[in-house]
């Protein structure tokens, strides 16, 4: 799937994978790949601005952890983020149902 097709859905996808467990940037990308069976192969660097934006909007929180002597920023979903994820899921359900009805 091309990055262009993910426009508008990236935030929801990130919230979805982080809602399962706190993850660092690289793990978010790997989780997106794993969940989609490798279909979601977006440019890896673009996930980080999205993570920072989601945190600035109060949908994610983050803290440092140290792994193997390296500092690592780990992201968790906030209450607002969980609520927003619910909105994203509902929006997607309506969108997918509508498109399916037309294309089928």
């Amino acid at each position: 799937m091309k990055a262009e097709e993910l426009k508008g859905h990236l935030d929801g996808l990130i919230l979805a994978v982080v809602s399962r467990e706190p993850l660092h940037g690289y793990a978010v990308i790997e989780s997106l790949k794993a969940c989609s069976g490798g279909e979601l192969a977006l440019p890896e660097g673009t996930v980080y601005p999205a993570l920072h934006r989601l945190e600035a909007d109060g949908l994610l929180s983050s803290k440092w952890s140290v792994v193997g002597g390296r500092r690592r920023r780990v992201y968790s979903i906030t209450k607002r983020g969980t609520k927003e994820l619910g909105v994203s899921r509902e929006r997607w359900r309506v969108f997918a149902t509508t498109i399916e009805a037309v294309l089928a």
Binding site: H24, Y26, G45
Partner: protein, 291 residues
Amino acid sequence: MNYVDSLQVELAAAGIPTRRRARIVAEFSDHLHENPEAELGAPRDLARQFADELGTRLARGTAYRAFAALAVAAIVLVVMFFNGGRTWGGWVGYGHYPVSYYLHRWWWVPMMLVCFISAQIALASGGLALLRAWRLRRVPVMTAADAAILNRRAGVGLVCGATAMIALPLTHFVVDFSSRWNTVAITVGPALIVLLLAMVPDVVRAARLRPTREGPAGDLTADLGLEDPRATPRRIAVVLSVAIVLVMVAVGVYSDDLYDGILRGLFDGAACLVGFAVLGQYLGLQRSGVD
């Protein structure tokens, strides 16, 4: 220069603050440690993306906070003048004294002029900052021009608000009334100046971290959501000035001092037009070369 070094240089060039930059670099270093072959994208593009998204939020947040601080200052100012005026037997307006009172002491005139004009510019600028931030509240990335205007409005509002606050202790000092409001004014005025000026570094930070997206910034008609082609910024300024004159005349009538009301009305109306002419383009009320 390796990838992380290049990224650091580009982030600095994009105006990303030092702490944020260090965090981003640490995250990308960790990523590359996990997967040295990772394709993270061109450092310049990434830096621009960070600047776009963070700059948009910073400009918007700064505008909201600046307005909130100005609103607090404005409420205190109104309460002080209202209560001070009531204590001394005056009415709300600008306080107890008619304009002619200030003319008896020549040095009061420039002082009060600066304070009154600053207060009005602060009110207008802060309100306009809020208006544009609200209009662009759902925009993920605003244009560099819009961000610049937001930051200017917030900055001008804060500096002029702080200048206007000088009026609070000064007025009460020179009037020299023995009232509990004197004490309050002398303490609250400087406190508000500190509050407003303490936010100026936020505006400077927001101005440094500006989005890179090109495009025009809207003018006053866009801020107000007016689509009628007859509603030009200049016409809006004229209508507003006339409205100000009428309101002040009405206040004068209510205060049994029509002359004072007319004088204040003409002064405020003219100040509005002069403010529009001088600051209109700088604050994004009108586009350059238009209207």
